[in-house]
Symmetry: C2
Subunit: 210 residues, 2 copies
């Protein structure tokens, strides 16, 4: 395993490499050089080679990279061949939409349970999975041992939910709330999706577009 000391800058580029290579493969491209890929992706060839070599030498000198091979290697690095059990906490608009819209199975996760505390939602079926009462999460975790959680609840509720889940062995979070889990629980792995922040950034750029 050559996975030590890889910077977040590099890691954050991997999914995009994976997407482009996937697209190239589907388009029937079998071979590509770092220069050609750099033109398609708007990066430098140097950066691509540098990034890839964090994980090993996937190319052939004088030839380039075999698209399907490189795609598979990056897929393996990202963990697309595995599926960690993930629960969704909060079955509101956003939670429902993301779970319905996105293919989790091809991205390393599998939704195995959905929880909410509202009478309206409990019992509802989302994407084939029934919404359970948040009160029963402890029981569920002890039986099914989920490893990750997608958090789609109001920020005010997140502290107690995170605390509870961490106590039940969940330490990987896909966090859509504004509560800063990573800051309060240093051992956890957290990716934040802050749509509001993203929209504000767009606003700034729109207003200051000189």
């Amino acid at each position: 395993m050559t996975s030590q000391n890889i910077s977040m800058s590099v890691i954050n580029r991997l999914p995009r490499y994976y997407r482009f290579l996937n697209y190239l493969k589907l388009s029937g491209v079998t071979r590509i050089s770092s220069r050609e890929l750099s033109e398609k992706m708007g990066l430098t060839a140097s950066q691509i080679r540098h990034d890839l070599n964090c994980f090993g030498g996937f190319g052939q000198q004088g030839y380039g990279y075999i698209v399907s091979e490189l795609r598979d290697e990056i897929g393996k690095i990202l963990g697309v061949d595995k599926q960690a059990k993930m629960i969704l906490v909060g079955a509101g608009n956003m939670g429902q939409a993301v779970v319905t819209h996105l293919d989790f199975e091809s991205r390393g996760f599998m939704i195995t349970g959905i929880f909410d505390n509202s009478e309206d939602k409990i019992g509802k079926i989302i994407n084939g999975i029934p919404v359970l009462d948040w009160q029963t999460v402890e029981e569920f975790c002890k039986e099914h041992t989920p490893e990750a959680a997608m958090i789609c609840i109001p920020t005010s509720a997140c502290k107690s939910v995170a605390e509870k889940l961490i106590g039940l062995g969940v330490n990987c979070f896909w966090n859509f709330s504004h509560y800063d889990i990573a800051l309060h629980y240093p051992g956890t792995i957290v990716e934040n999706v802050h749509l509001g922040d993203n929209l504000l950034t767009l606003s700034y750029r729109f207003r200051n577009n000189s």
Copy 2:
């Protein structure tokens, strides 16, 4: 206007500053030093002072920053006091959920039109706004002159949609598809929301958590 040459690293932190200051204000905190704020946010005091001074001296030496004043200043920088007209293209799960879930008005934008090309969706009312036929977008834009668009359609449809909108004077995009608008149309302002990429990054970090 002191908005020249601000790096994206700084810009991307602004919404988070704004959120924390807002929270502090609501909590009744009137005054804060860069050191106190740095502890609450998990940054260095030096970085906070450095970031803020890109836009002007908002503090008082020996005293710190007045919370509500700083909040308002950053809000103004982000453009929360203005509302650019934005249309939503694609009224599927994600588009509906985000428009319903998020308060656009307090983040510099206002949804003034929703478009789709599916019979099921056209005529439906989302958040008080009727879904219009995508075929009528040209007419709509000429009358209402939207300045921005939220793109929630399949990647395959994005190229033609982006082209059309750019032709109609829209050059600011909140892009949920995987089509790379910024790469293909260099003059545009684009913020991408790539949920799938984000989930893959989480998968990587989960698998390589040593």
